[in-house]
Amino acid sequence: MTKALDRAARDHGARVRAALAARFRDLDIAEEAFAEACARAVTAWAGETPRDPVAWLYRVADRAALDMVRRRAVRSGATLPDPEPPPSPEEELMADTRLIPDERLKLIFVCCHPAIHPEARAALTLKLVCGLSTPEIARAFLLPEPTLAQRLVRAKNKIAGAGAPFEVPGPDAWPDRLDAVLSTIEIAYAKAHEDGGGSGRHAGYALEMLGITATLAALVPSEPEVLALAATVRFAEARRPARVDAGGMMVPLDRQDPMTWDKALIAEARPYLARALSAGPPGRRTLHALIHAEWCARSSLDAPAPWRSVLVLYDALMALRDDAITRLNRAVALAEIAGPETALEEVDALDAPGLADFLPYHAVRADLLVKLGLTDAAMEAYDAALKLGPERAERLWLEGKRAGL
């Protein structure tokens, strides 16, 4: 029984919440009403699971939402709308999952509205679209639960108060708005990816990212950047089993054993990338997916690492967006092709605010300094990286490198 409820809530929760939000134009009501329906299902389904669990949840949530709207109206002294008549037998028969309008795209766009702070957008999307609980999201964002809860409330209030529309934006706004959606998913995925082990506080969370990118690709099948992001998340997740060794230490990409990568996920990623590539000249996210694809094409640790093609792709990426992070990533490949001295020159020439607090900057510099035999400077760079408090897997890796000097 609860299994049926869990599955229905997990697989179709977003669709039900989205349909409710579209109907009542209120994210709070959609969320509360769906929670209420799930709570009622616990007892109502104790005897027998309904024929169509999702339709049941939608119908019950819809009525709960109507009650909430009425109670609010009473509080604000407005005249009461007529109560809804109880469902007729015909309506009961009609209720079917297929009749619930698919408003998920609208829900995604409103959660990712550019008028909302980017981190709050990611949290809101995880909450409403992916159905994660507030404690789960708080853990992922390393925030105290009340802080995150407050951010979610503020974001929902902003959406309601500022009049953000519950609509898929028109063609003029589409490029900007879609970019906000994709960046939000990237922020959310980065939170899941930081945790190399994947067994800890992000277990299951990364699966949501596979789900939401698949949903988005199904809803917007002709946007190459959407398809590319779906590919990237799959390529990156495929490598999860290899990212940490038995002792819990991080394994860098070029030392990961391709035999341990998830072949099924890689196979799932490739068609997304192929479709993205056939849609026109590659954008930033398509190039990122291509870099992942290069790595995921490696068959074993004996096969050469694809540094040369990775460098070419980073060059193409720089032509689209020349920023410190792209340059830093490119320098790693550059070191393998042009040597560590050239790469270190590039890294030392970087100038961006916040670079000193960016852990990969110190980690990459430290590795290059080691290769050049500049032990003292490397030691300092490892210390700087460790001072920024990396997660356990990366900390063990950096400590190991430092101890080996």
Binding site: H113, A115, G161, A162, G163, A164, P165, E167, A173
Partner: protein, 116 residues
């Protein structure tokens, strides 16, 4: 909904003369913008420079008068519009078209009670 669009620009860009070429140009552009807005424009005005500003500050019941604007910032409030727009996205679209002379920022604020 009704929104206020608050226009922030570096006022020094307009020079000291109130009929500088920059001022004349922006007035023309605002007139064209106002015409385009039509009935959606509910109100608005340009403001004199912050050199003309006086601020009344209340702290713990005590009131003091200060010469100058509420906050010293790189861009100053120079004018505002009140508009009628169906939703935030429509208001954003209008704010994007609002003329600024060089760099500038337009803050969009829903009016209290401006929902009908």
């Amino acid at each position: 909904m009704q929104y206020m669009l608050l226009i922030y620009e570096d006022e020094t860009a307009y020079g000291d003369e109130h009929d500088s070429p920059a001022v004349m140009e922006i007035i023309q552009r605002h007139m064209a913008f106002g015409e385009e807005l039509g009935a959606q424009r509910k109100g608005g005005a340009g403001l004199m420079p912050t050199g003309m500003a006086t601020t009344v500050v209340t702290r713990s019941g005590n009131q003091t008068i200060h010469d100058g604007p509420f906050a010293e910032t790189r861009e100053q409030l120079g004018g505002f519009y009140i508009i009628d727009a169906p939703d935030l996205d429509a208001a954003i679209a209008i704010a994007k078209k609002l003329p600024v002379y060089a760099d500038g920022s337009v803050e969009i604020r829903p009016l209290l009670g401006g929902t009908d």
